[in-house]
């Protein structure tokens, strides 16, 4: 989790006019997010989005993703992969006693490409220079870079919402066909997949409930493509 990293950036940049708002996209709500949030002791708003509203409103398909909003409430960068620092779990040695599955998982995670240095440098530039920063995008660029929403993806959003609603109301089995429909309609939405897989297996491994699982699906696209490259 990157929450301590965001809090450190908040300490640095809040005096210059930046506020950070973290939002947990978690159907499990406060119960599953509390320990992460409390461990980070955030001084900034730290919110919980139990219905995954933020995914739909901004077009977020994986975490962590961040959005820049200026003083007038205008989005100047749409969602993109955002890490405050390089998390230690992205570079791990395979322990000698690791099972083949664990070894494959570590190998896949090690291949994931992120660029926190570039991202944070751009963020500092925007905080210092505002609209004059070359990283603050023009409105047309913001819209153009946001997630496309053909009918399949809009329908996936409806199925995911209905699935979550049923799940939160204790109808976990009735939720599954809707989660499966969301996965089928928008296969590159990792948020839909990872949230639902977690209900069937907290480690997001293979189950009889879902066709995919984290390792198999990541291997299918190549772990290096798991996050789209930053286009600063």
């Amino acid at each position: 989790m990157d929450l301590p990293g965001w809090q450190a950036l908040r300490t640095e940049l809040h005096p210059q006019g930046l506020e950070i708002v973290t939002v947990a996209l978690d159907t499990g709500g406060a119960e599953v997010t509390r320990r992460w949030i409390e461990a980070a002791s955030p001084e900034h708003p730290s919110l919980i989005d139990q219905a995954h509203l933020v995914d739909e409103l901004f077009g977020i398909t994986n975490v962590p993703s961040s959005v820049w909003i200026d003083e007038q409430g205008r989005i100047v960068r749409p969602p993109e992969p955002a890490f405050p620092t390089r998390p230690p779990y992205l570079k791990r040695e395979v322990p000698p006693d690791a099972s083949p599955r664990v070894a494959a998982l570590i190998a896949a995670v090690n291949e994931i490409k992120i660029d926190p240095d570039t991202y944070v440098a751009a963020l500092r530039d925007w905080v210092a220079h505002g609209a004059a920063s070359r990283f603050a995008l023009a409105p047309d660029d913001v819209l153009e870079r946001s997630c496309p929403r053909p009918i399949e993806e809009a329908t996936a959003a409806a199925h995911f919402e209905l699935g979550q609603h049923l799940h939160r109301n204790g109808q976990t089995e009735a939720a599954v066909p809707h989660f499966r429909a969301a996965h089928r309609l928008q296969p590159d939405n990792w948020t839909y997949k990872r949230q639902a897989w977690t209900f069937a297996d907290p480690s997001q491994g293979p189950t009889e409930v879902y066709e995919g699982n984290w390792l198999a699906d990541v291997q299918k696209i190549g772990a290096a493509n798991y996050y789209p490259p930053l286009k600063m």
Partner: protein, 112 residues
């Protein structure tokens, strides 16, 4: 948005989607899409779905429906940040709008 029956609450629809219901129809920015007159406090979900290009799905067993976001464009149809209200750990509601005048970095993360 989740629907029981055939209609959606007008105020909830406006909050959730950013469409404003006016005498001339459903309006967002400079666009107005005509709707049948006399909508009042509730709107026909099937008509909204058809006119605004939103998917409407049903769940037979629960009798619930869900009206999805409008299709055909992109997730962001305006650079105006949505008027987001979410709770913190203690259940206290926070309004994104209250941060006007500051730059905001909105970070989505998850426990999973």
């Amino acid at each position: 948005m989740i629907i029981q029956g055939r209609t959606v609450d007008t105020a909830e629809f406006e909050r959730r989607t950013g469409w404003a219901i006016k005498p001339e129809g459903a309006c967002k920015g400079e666009i107005c899409v005509p709707l049948p007159a006399g909508g009042g406090r509730s709107l026909d979900a099937a008509i909204l779905a058809e006119r605004l290009g939103m998917p409407l799905i049903h769940d037979e067993a629960s009798g619930l429906s869900c009206l999805g976001p409008e299709a055909g464009g992109r997730a962001l149809t305006s650079v105006e940040a949505p008027d987001l209200t979410l709770p913190d750990l203690d259940g206290t509601e926070f309004h994104l709008r209250s941060l006007r005048g500051q730059k905001v970095l909105l970070v989505a993360w998850a426990s999973w």
